[in-house]
Point group: none
Chain length 422, copies 2
């Protein structure tokens, strides 16, 4: 089963955006056992789109097209598809009902452009867009399936995951590929690769593939294997995961779709504990990660973003002497911040972060990337110093994730009534 | 002058990475007036690479190839280029000297793999890699230029910017394409399209292209035109931008690379004012957007993330009666939150946000997406009600951007000593 992706949009060809839809689609195809042959990006140019469709028709069984289905004048994909499939646009009631529902929910009146979005090529099946107004279009020609989806990532992703992939899986006998992703925080890629060298060698002998998927602060290890019996494959991967747990227990925070704030939330709920936060250099990112988890109000009380020293003193009760003698980025300051916010907002645990995110503010002693993180409870507070990189946005996300992982390790041990250890 | 890009690597086709080299190259081409026809991504597969090269040869004047030039076994680009250009690898002294220099700087001994990197196809010119060891390769065939560069982004970027583009500019008379991007917040794509309908019709007559680039909470309008005189083209786009300012003054917050928090920061600095924040449903995202701006400590004091009603009462001084009578998501509550945080943290302006981000918590009266935003100063506080969608993460980003734009409008007017108006 060979696939191709055609992404459409002038914004791609002038370098205004980094096109990421194809990576999402590629990942979904890979998981489903569909092999992607190539990705083509073309502009909003009818001849180039038609040409890409013809080429794909010759080579691929499945062709995914994204972009250009919106309501504005530069969205020409639908017209070009009509030309290619020798058909015309007709008004689709079901698509229109979906558009009305979306707009009504947001109190937006339906205009002429919205009505036009309900016009679809006559010889295609439509795929309802659960996240937006432009319907997806499903064509078949000479044994090839063509699926056109909107270019807005979250609309395309929902359509791909919940509609396109399930239908393809039902219709075709796809190879069984089983995946298990182990999510780690706190180690660099080269560091992990060195620690895991022996274990990795052994994987190949067992017919298991490994991929490192790094993102700032997080490295996911994706294991996969192919075969006829899903249960055997799953057991094989579980076995390797158990081995991994013994080699890198501190780095592993979860599996597959698990996120670090979700895991921390589950641990706190289990322990019957609550959390509050004092952020300086992370500036709200740590709180944002936590409040991305629905229902976090069960365990998260709130935060103080203490960007100025004055707020650190007045609200968090950090002593002026501490700030003067040790500086805002110091063990003493973060520990006082953590204790201060715990008393102010009331919580069983408190995290405090203070660092130099950059690009300026670094010194010889404390270069850009220097970050202190403290975790406090009623019993004691502990802190640790980290040196991240020189990029502001990556430092902010790394510091936030590192703080969450530090809390995770402490809560895990705490709930077992064992002495704190990071 | 038509160009194509071929990016090579299995990691792209399995969705392991988001391929971003082509966006950089595309942007460099666009600025230089070279039109990019398409981008093709293929795996480490000789037949597919050869096929992509043949297709590009027929269509393009310039072909850029990235990836697969490294020293390891899966790097096959050089061998495939030898096959395609019917040539063989020879040892290149200049390339080797460059490799030696790089390794010496990092105290790494030269090994057999490094020597192999100095072997290049006989009929190409080499492009020295100032940032790494793999040389770039410049071929010409049937009037088409083929340039192969390493896939490591910073190596490729230095080669592209400092060597490839200057040579192409010297050799060809390239057209001028000028771009201007207008950044808007607060309008939906279909709404903007309707408002701008007449203006848009007129653009075409003036030879100007328009593209809508939407992302959650933000729509960018990209204008472009081509011609011989850069000054005339720039003036044409400026003229259209001035017209736009009159049609949608409230939605436009900036141009080109401007971000909303940057613009708000500049306005506050100009007005000599500071800002503090009380967040409920946005949970830290609004503070995070602000603290993404380096140097924001000049105008941003800090925030309280008041996720629980208890913190709204105790820290922000919201009256229990208000919470009981009107609820946490109400005009009264956000206005009290804004005034409360302004007194607590001290700032000329305060923003407060309270809403139902979802997925749960909605009622008939206040469905998921309902959000109240208030801005307070020493003089008065004003607030507005919004209804966003049903997706938690998008509601959070939309509410944050909407709050920033609300403040932007108020500060703009305030600094002119005119009465508040949203």
């Amino acid at each position: 089963m060979l696939a191709e992706i055609i992404t459409i949009g002038d914004e791609i060809l002038i370098g205004q955006i980094v096109e990421s839809n194809s990576a999402y689609i590629a990942e979904q195809f890979t998981s489903a056992g569909i092999q992607l042959n190539r990705i083509i990006s073309v502009g909003d140019n009818p001849a180039n789109i038609i040409n890409a469709l013809s080429e794909a028709n010759q080579k691929a069984d499945i062709v995914i097209i994204t972009g250009g289905l919106g309501p504005t004048k530069d969205d020409i994909t639908k017209a070009v598809l009509c030309e290619y499939f020798n058909t015309q646009l007709i008004f689709d009631e079901e698509a229109f009902t979906n558009i009305e529902r979306h707009l009504k929910y947001r109190n937006i009146p339906v205009n002429e452009l919205n009505r036009k979005q309900a016009e679809v090529p006559e010889n295609c099946k439509i795929i309802l867009n659960t996240e937006g107004t432009a319907p997806g279009l499903w064509f078949e020609k000479d044994g090839t399936i063509f699926i056109a989806m909107p270019g807005v990532p979250f609309e395309m992703e929902a359509m791909m995951k919940h509609q396109v992939i399930p239908v393809l899986k039902k219709r075709f006998k796809l190879p069984n590929i089983v995946y298990k992703t182990v999510n780690t925080q706190g180690a660099y890629e080269s560091q992990l690769a060195e620690i895991l060298n022996k274990w990795e060698e052994n994987l190949k002998k067992n017919g298991i593939k490994l991929a490192y998927l790094p993102s700032p602060g997080i490295i996911q290890l994706r294991l996969s294997c192919e075969g006829s019996d899903r249960a055997i494959l799953t057991a094989k991967l579980e076995n390797e995961t158990e081995k991994l747990k013994k080699i890198i227990p501190d780095f592993i925070y979860g599996y597959d779709e698990d996120t670090l704030p979700q895991i921390v939330g589950k641990l706190l709920i289990k322990a019957g504990k609550t959390l509050c936060i004092a952020e300086s250099c992370t500036g709200g990112m740590l709180s944002h990660l936590i409040t991305s988890v629905p229902g976090c109000s069960d365990w998260f009380r709130g935060s103080v973003i203490a960007y100025s020293n004055e707020i650190k003193e007045k609200q968090l009760n950090v002593s002026p002497d501490t700030l003067c003698n040790y500086g805002a980025v110091s063990k003493q300051t973060v520990e006082e911040m953590a204790n201060g916010v715990r008393h102010l907002l009331g919580g069983d645990f408190a995290i405090a972060v203070s660092g130099i995110a950059g690009p300026s503010g670094g010194t010889n002693d404390k270069p850009v990337g220097t970050t202190w993180i403290a975790v406090a409870s009623s019993e004691k507070s502990i802190s640790q110093n980290y040196l991240f990189g020189n990029d502001r946005s990556r430092n902010i996300i790394r510091a936030s994730l590192t703080a969450l992982n530090m809390l995770r390790k402490i809560v895990t041990i705490h709930s077992l009534d064992i002495r704190y250890k990071i």
